[in-house]
């Protein structure tokens, strides 16, 4: 069974702290994605990665960075957390090639609150 796990379900951090959100997938997928989800705005893509050590900016990369040192793990980093980064963060993965490559599998989400 396909599985994407995220390190925390709930996280509370202070303004200015460095925050790491971790995501692991066990499907040997090449592609991994980080989204944030806010009420009324849907899912917005922050960063994605097509392969180890590769990353590309999504629609809202400002204030975030990512790291992909291993195929199964994709980390989202908030260098200096701010209150406007309070949100639900969702990780997803997909195959890069093949007939099902468009389908993304999502983790359960991390609800981050920055105070």
């Amino acid at each position: 069974d396909v599985k994407v796990t995220q390190s925390s379900r709930y996280l509370v951090k202070r303004t200015g702290e460095k925050v790491f959100l971790e995501c692991v997938q066990d499907m040997d997928h090449e592609n991994m994605f980080w989204y944030r989800q806010d009420p009324g705005l849907g899912l917005r893509l922050i960063y994605f990665s097509y392969d180890v050590k590769m990353k590309e900016k999504g629609d809202i990369p400002e204030g975030y960075s990512v790291s992909r040192e291993k195929k199964e793990r994709f980390s989202l980093i908030l260098e200096s957390a701010s209150t406007n980064q309070t949100s639900m963060y969702l990780c997803a993965s997909s195959r890069r090639w093949g007939p099902s490559s468009y389908e993304q599998y999502f983790g359960p989400g991390t609800r981050l609150t920055v105070t």
């Binding site: 009420p39 590309e56 999504g58 639900m88 969702l90 389908e103 999502f106 983790g107």
Partner: protein, 114 residues
């Protein structure tokens, strides 16, 4: 999560009735569309997909209709059940094959009344 449904268009449906959820997309060049379901406290889950060379596709209790002329997508759920209560997102493909990503709509909340 529990706050995902706030500020979203909401469809209230009696249990057993059919539901229709609509979505407008922006890119006339998009050739692949997906519907996702997100239950409270969970990540989105794949429901059904459709390619642009089709105008209808059926799954188990769900049907997706695609009207490319007006760039409109709909999801029909037959005999709606309490477990269908969720937020539903349509998504279209952006990018080139191998480097594709999804662009999501804002979502529609479905509330099933027992």
């Amino acid at each position: 999560g529990e706050s995902v449904g706030l500020h979203l268009p909401t469809l209230s449906v009696q249990e057993g009735d059919n539901s229709i959820i609509n979505c407008a997309y922006s890119n006339s060049a998009s050739d692949y569309f997906i519907w996702y379901k997100q239950e409270s406290g969970k990540g989105p889950q794949f429901i059904i997909d459709i390619r642009s060379n089709m105008d209808k596709r059926q799954g188990q209790r769900v049907t997706v209709l695609l009207n490319k002329t007006v760039k409109h997508l709909s999801l029909q759920i037959a005999a709606t059940q309490p477990g269908d209560s969720a937020v539903y997102f349509c998504a279209e493909i952006r990018g080139r094959y191998g480097n594709n990503r999804l662009a999501f709509g804002k979502g529609n909340q479905v509330v099933v009344i027992p």
